[in-house]
Every structure is written in C-alpha cells, then in structure tokens.
Symmetry: C3
Subunit: 332 residues, 3 copies
C-alpha cells in the first residue's frame, strides 16, 4: 500500500465485530466467535447449498441494498464469490478496482470508506495486504455500515474459514473426534489461521500444523495445535488434510535452505502419502492450486478431494454472512 | 488521448443540450441553463435524498434502459456514483474501461459511440481529458441517445456543479445574499467552473475566486466573480468555502514560484482561518481530499463540513438527471 | 498465454457442441452446423431485433441464471455485447478480467473453469488467443455448463459469423444466388473463417477471398471459396463486400513486401471501387475499423454500409444463443 497510513493492531476485534445483542455486525475474524454463532452461520449457509448442476439458490432478501467490493489486492475467486452472493440475494453490487484510481490519487483509505458510506453502501467487502485494515475501517464507519474481511494480510480470511468448516461438517456431520492436518506455509497463511480458529471453536482437538521450520507458526499463536515439520506425523490417521497454496516467491527467498522440488518432495500431498491417513480422509485446498507442487494433480480431482465443494460452499457462506449482518443492522 | 481526432470548440453547447421543448436532452454544461431548469433538477434530486443510515432511494423508472459509463479518464467516485444512480433506477449499467481495449486498437471515439448506440444504449456517461469531447459526441449521436458529461478536461463537470448547488440549498434554503469563496487552482478546475456558472444562474452575486496568481482564471471568463490571491479577502464573511483539490504535479511544474508547503500555508483552509468567515459558514470539497494541504484534516470532519453530504447528493443528482433526460427522449 | 498448458487440436468440435438431441449445448464453431440449426438461431435472433431508437428487446427468460464473461484477450465490443445480451434476459453477469488476477497467480485455465462451475455459473463466454481453448474447456465441463466461443485465435468467432448471416439475410431475404467477397488478411481472420463456414452452409456458392498473397488462406481450407489477390476480381458483381480489420503489426512484419499505403491502395474498399459490384451491394466490417485504410471513411457511414446493423444484430444473436443453449441444458 502506498498509503501513508498505518493500521494499529486492534486488541479486541472480536468485540468490535459484535453488536451489543451478540449478533455479528461486521465479520473481521473467526477468533473469539463462539460455537453457537458459528453454528448459526453454518446452518444458514447450508440452506443456500444446492447440488452441482441444479439452479443456484436465490432470494430477494437484499433488494435495495448495496454491497461494495473493495479489493486493494487482486482476486478472482473471492471477488467473484462475493459478487455472486450479493447478486443472488438481489443486492446492487459495486465492484471497485481501487488500485487503479483513488489510491493513485492519494486518497486515504478512510476517505474512500466515507465516500462509499455517503453513497448509502450498506456492506463493504474489503481485501487488503496490510494487517489491521478491516478492523481500522470498522472502527470508523457509522453504525449502519457493515465491514466484511475478504482477506487480510497473513492474518485472517474468515469467510474462507467458514467455508472450510461447512465443507468438513457436510462430510463428517460434526467436528468432535476429528484429526485435521494443515500443510504448507503456515507462517504466512491467513487461510490456516482462520481455519484453525474456527476448528478450535467447533471442538476439534487434534489440529496439526505441518510445515518446513522456516514456515512454522509463531511460538505464541495457535498454541492448542500441534506443530511438526514431518508430513508423515501430520498425516497419520488424519480425517482432513488441507494443503495450502505455496508462494514460489517465498521459497525463492529461502535460497540455499529450500527449493520447490524439495518442498514438493517433502510436503506435497499425494495419494500415496495419504495411505497414512484415516480411511475416510478428505483433501482440501483454498485455491488457486499449484498442481504437482503442494498437491498431486490426480488427487485434486479424485473422490477424496472436496476442493470444488469448498468453492460452492464459499458462495453459500457469503450469502449467509451478508444476510446475517444486514439483519443485525436492521435490528439496531 | 492517443486518438488522432481533435475536438473543435463548439460555440453553442447550451443550445445543443436542449430539446426544442426546452428540456435537457444531454447534460454538457451548466453554462446557459436557466434558473427554472436548474431548480427543477434540484427539486427532482431532493426527492432522492434520504438521511444517512436510511435505505437508499430507489425506483424502477429506468427498467429496460441501458446506461454506459465511458470513462476515458480513471475515476472511482464519479463512476461509482453514476453506477449506483443507474442501478437504483433499475437500469442496466455497462461499465467500459476504454483505455485498455478499443483505444488500444485505435478505434476512433465516434466509432465507439456508434457501436454503443447500435447496442441500444440510451445514455452514455462520458469522462474525457480532452476539451470538447462531450459536445462532439452529442453532435453525432442519434436523437434517441443522451450524453452526460462526467468531467471534461478543465472545462466542465456539470453534475458536480449540481450537487454543489443542492448541498448549498439544503443548508441555506436558497442562494440570494450568499457569499461563496472557491479556493485553489481555479485555472485548471472543471469543478470551479461548473460551480461558478451554477451559482451565478441561481442568483449568487458575491462569488470569490481565490488562488495564487499562477492559478488564477482567464481574464475573460467568469467576469461576474471577484478574483483575488489573498485568502483572507476571500474568506471574510463568506457563507460557503469550497476548497479545491490541488494537483501536486501542477505545483511541481511551478518550481521556484510555489511549493506545497507555501500553498498549504497561504491557501489551506483551516478552522482558524475560518474565523473570518460568517458564523454559519459551511466547508465543501469535491474530493478526493489531500488532507493537511488544501484543507485541515480536522476541519474536513467537523460540523462545518458538508463534504459527505456532497457525496450523498451526487447520487441523488445523477438519478434526477438520468430520469430527466430519459423523459425528454421519451417525449421526443 | 503464460499457461504451460497446450490445447490439442480437437477433431470433432462439431459433434462436441451438440447435445444428443441435435440441439446446441455449446457454441464452439459454425463449421459442421447444419442449415436447419443455423436458420433456427437466426429466426430466434430476429425476434430480438428492434429498430434503432426503440427500446431494446428484453425478457426474463434467464432470471436466476449466471453467465461469466471470461476474456483472456481484451475486448470492448464483444464483451459489452454479451454483457448486454445476458442482462436483457435478466441473467446475472459476472465479468472476469482474467489477465490481471488468476493467470498472474499461475492457476490453470481448467481450475478457473472448475471454480466457476462450482459457483453455479451456467454459461461461460470465452475469448482466448490460443487455438483450441473453447473446445478444450468444453470437453472438461460438467453437463450443466455451456461454453460459448467469443473469439478463438485466428480460428473461429461463431457469434460474429451468425450476426453476419443475420445482417445479410435481413437485406436479401435469403442466401441463394449471392456473391460475397471477403477482403483483407484472410489468413489470420477468425471473422472470415466463421463467415465462410456459415455462408457455405446457408447455400452461398460464390464466396471470394481477396487478399495479398501473404495473407491468403491455407491451401486445404475453405476450398469451396475462390481465392484471389485482385480486388477488382473479387468485387465484380458482388452483393456483399466484407472488409476485414487490418492489423498494422502484421503488415509491419512483412517489411519490404507490403506497407500500409500499398495495402490501402490495393485492398481498401471505397465507393469508387464498389462501382464494380452489384447495384444492391452492402458493405460490412466486424469493427473496430481503421477508417481510411481497409475502408473509406465516408463509405463506412453511407447507405451501403450495414456496419451498425451488424452491431445491433450482435446483441440479438447472443441473446438467441444464450436462450438456445440454456434450453438445451434444461432439457438434458
């Protein structure tokens, strides 16, 4: 970001995103949301899930409402998913490519927000490469506006976390007793962090974070999870294996320590290695995949893979979150 | 513009934009529009104004109509404002990023217009860095198409002028007796020109144009306004102070004559300097702001500021203009 | 394309695009479609044609359906035409600028397709600079998804071919006995290929391909057409003359053989040269035009020109194709 602004760490995002009646008014992070609320969101999302090949779920609940997609980082799939979620609820959707216009003119992020707020935008969906942007914005909007975090630096991607929970719940009908392995660059993954916080809240006790040591999580975070650099340890009897997208640039930065071939050999998920996992194991990936690197291509297309279900569930989850926050605002 | 076309000055834009029944069929400039017509537009816009926090105004008057946003210059706020105005009237809105496609292929601007016309586009919203483009296009379209100027070089930005008028009228209930100071780079400001023409028509007799001499208006234009390079003279007893966005590049071009610090010290609007103004003074800015340069940041957020109301009014004004020109076309 | 994928030539696109009931389920090429099916599509499109100046045709047949415009090559007019076609049938339209996001991240084209399919996208409109992409995609989507080719390398542009047929049929009420000359860079023209295949199927026996020898078609293709490098031979008694857009870069590549002035002198279509043609000759161009190079500017705007009708027909044809493939899918 070229903005001169800095975004101070906000101590209590969990509180900030809740209305005093306990319902969500923003969605900034899954951290701190309780099991009852997550379950309510998953139940609402499940209503919007229709089989592939059937007509998409749709209703007119947001007619007259305006949703702005404010992506300061480029995105195809998350932007498209929010776009469709809004349109299928009959909202007006405004897609703003912020890099190429107001940021170029040096407008501060808050003035962009105030402008959209003044245009009666009800929900702003924000993706930003800087830590703290969604919470910073949420502290500044008026109480008729909702902020949804669509990806925040390495920190948080709560709708991704929800769609991962929904996908797991559809297969296993619950979370208790599951072993979940998340494999890849944990240190830099907002996907991993949101999944871990959601899984922990939902009662998963055996969470394993598998990565080369250079990509291990910080010592003080996600302490309820097991950290290992051995893939086989992570996979043994796992019910869920989530492969993370590897950023080649990050590996290139580790010159002399790790290269892509090493990574693939030691941390790539393949059908052969999955023999260690539980019989009912499912394989997840947030996309976009580097086939043949972090995941074997044939495995990604196999019956063990739930990767396309994750995408379908993404639209359903975003519809549910949009309806939820707007009903919170309506009752304020 | 890379186009080889030149756009000849058009002597009678005011006439060109009027249907023979006296109603607007294009909106090219506020210059030459009479008080009755401006009042009708402001009254129509006022109907679409709803308090911040309430649901946006909406009706289905343009269902089946198509609006194309043709921005040859990048824009976030004006493009978003027209986009929402169209959608909230139930029109189909086509957003064209013309820089990256047909201009690249060397298609002339008229052929782009003829193409959209053939696709049954009813209204084309045009922003261009070249003088004369909106009038040039308006001379060439068929009589079922309306052209709205969304920003033309340094010359004209009529919907901005209308939203400024509406904002002033909301606060003062009228225009007579008001003193209005416009401060900044008058020479290069389409915002200032449209505001001045609108204010003059509405009966404001005390209009002050305040700028460093390098940015003063031409000697032969806006002769009914007072020109000064002294901010205090401009502010004294003013009811309305409009700060213009300063383009740092333009100041850089004046190397040795003016720098940004000088500019801010001598022409930046602050609460302290506003002590000279009338008690009921309001502060306006077209956005995006350079906080701390042309306007003190705390002032922009104070009760004297009507900057976010300007943005809200922008959507309302554009809805009113869209309905007006389409009703003119329908009755042709 | 930066993708490492290659797209193998597919021997039987004609079969691939047909449902077993004989109706279109994709539209990949006009080659191999029979006269009955083309006539059905033209008849359906004709229903959506309304006079210029009247309100655009519209119906709610695709409400709840989702169309994704996936343009891997930039386009204004074809993208806008599909966008409007979808919106005027009440579909949700998703515009994806694929260059700037997922391709940048190295996602394979198939994973992009699988993602959209999982989001319940019903129709994907694909433009790509690589040969074979639409057929490749069509082989991989599930049977509830339709692929429409919106321009494929030099090979095929079937909706352009259909709009050309519709435009000719409107003027001549049929195809038998017509002489059609296509003039320009035949070798690199997907427009020419789709037109030729459509015209041949519809019964046009006198098709003339006119180009400098460097731009002549391959020896084994379109063998039912006459190939010549003499414009006068091509124009004599022609009822339809279609000028193709010339790519200046391609001429620059022929340094020493041909330059733009030569090209224009020898192959540019002018009113004077059209004296050789039939009295009722019409002039076509797919756009965007290089006025003064492949076509005389005044001729393009004359009564002999049907260029803007082509554009209008483009929207109608795309509406018809969208309805057709979705009705095929609904009956699967």
């Amino acid at each position: 970001m070229q903005s001169p602004e800095t975004f101070p760490a906000f101590a209590d995002e969990a509180r900030l995103q809740l209305h005093h009646n306990g319902r969500l008014r923003h969605l900034l992070t899954l951290k701190g949301l309780d099991r009852e609320l997550l379950t309510e969101l998953l139940d609402a999302a499940q209503q919007f899930v229709t089989p592939t090949g059937s007509i998409a779920a749709r209703r007119d609940s947001l007619r007259g409402r305006t949703i702005a997609n404010l992506f300061f980082e480029p995105s195809t799939r998350t932007r498209a998913s929010f776009d469709l979620a809004g349109k299928r609820l009959a909202a007006d959707v405004l897609n703003l490519d912020v890099n190429t216009s107001s940021r170029k003119k040096g407008e501060s992020i808050l003035d962009t927000i105030y402008t959209l707020q003044a245009m009666h935008v009800d929900v702003m969906v924000v993706r930003d490469a800087s830590t703290g942007v969604p919470a910073y914005i949420a502290q500044h909007v008026e109480d008729h506006v909702s902020i949804l975090n669509a990806g925040e630096s390495d920190i948080s991607h709560p709708t991704q976390g929800l769609l991962d929970l929904l996908t797991i719940r559809q297969r296993f009908s619950g979370f208790s007793g599951l072993a979940v392995a998340i494999v890849g660059d944990i240190a830099h993954s907002r996907v991993a962090r949101s999944a871990v916080h959601g899984l922990h809240t939902m009662g998963v006790q055996d969470i394993r974070l598998v990565s080369p040591s250079a990509f291990a999580p910080g010592k003080d975070e996600m302490t309820f999870a097991t950290v290992t650099d051995e893939l086989d340890v992570g996979l043994r009897n796992a019910n869920v294996v989530m492969a993370l997208r590897i950023q080649r640039e990050r590996i290139a930065d580790l010159e002399g320590i790790l290269d892509v071939e090493d990574y693939s050999a030691n941390y790539g998920i393949s059908a052969a290695r999955l023999a260690l996992a539980a019989d009912d194991v499912i394989v997840m990936h947030p996309g976009p995949m580097n086939r043949g690197i972090e995941i074997e291509s044939t495995l990604a297309d196999s019956a063990q893979s739930v990767i396309t279900q994750q995408v379908s569930n993404g639209v359903a989850v975003r519809m549910a979150v949009l309806e939820h926050v707007l009903s919170t605002l309506a009752g304020r």
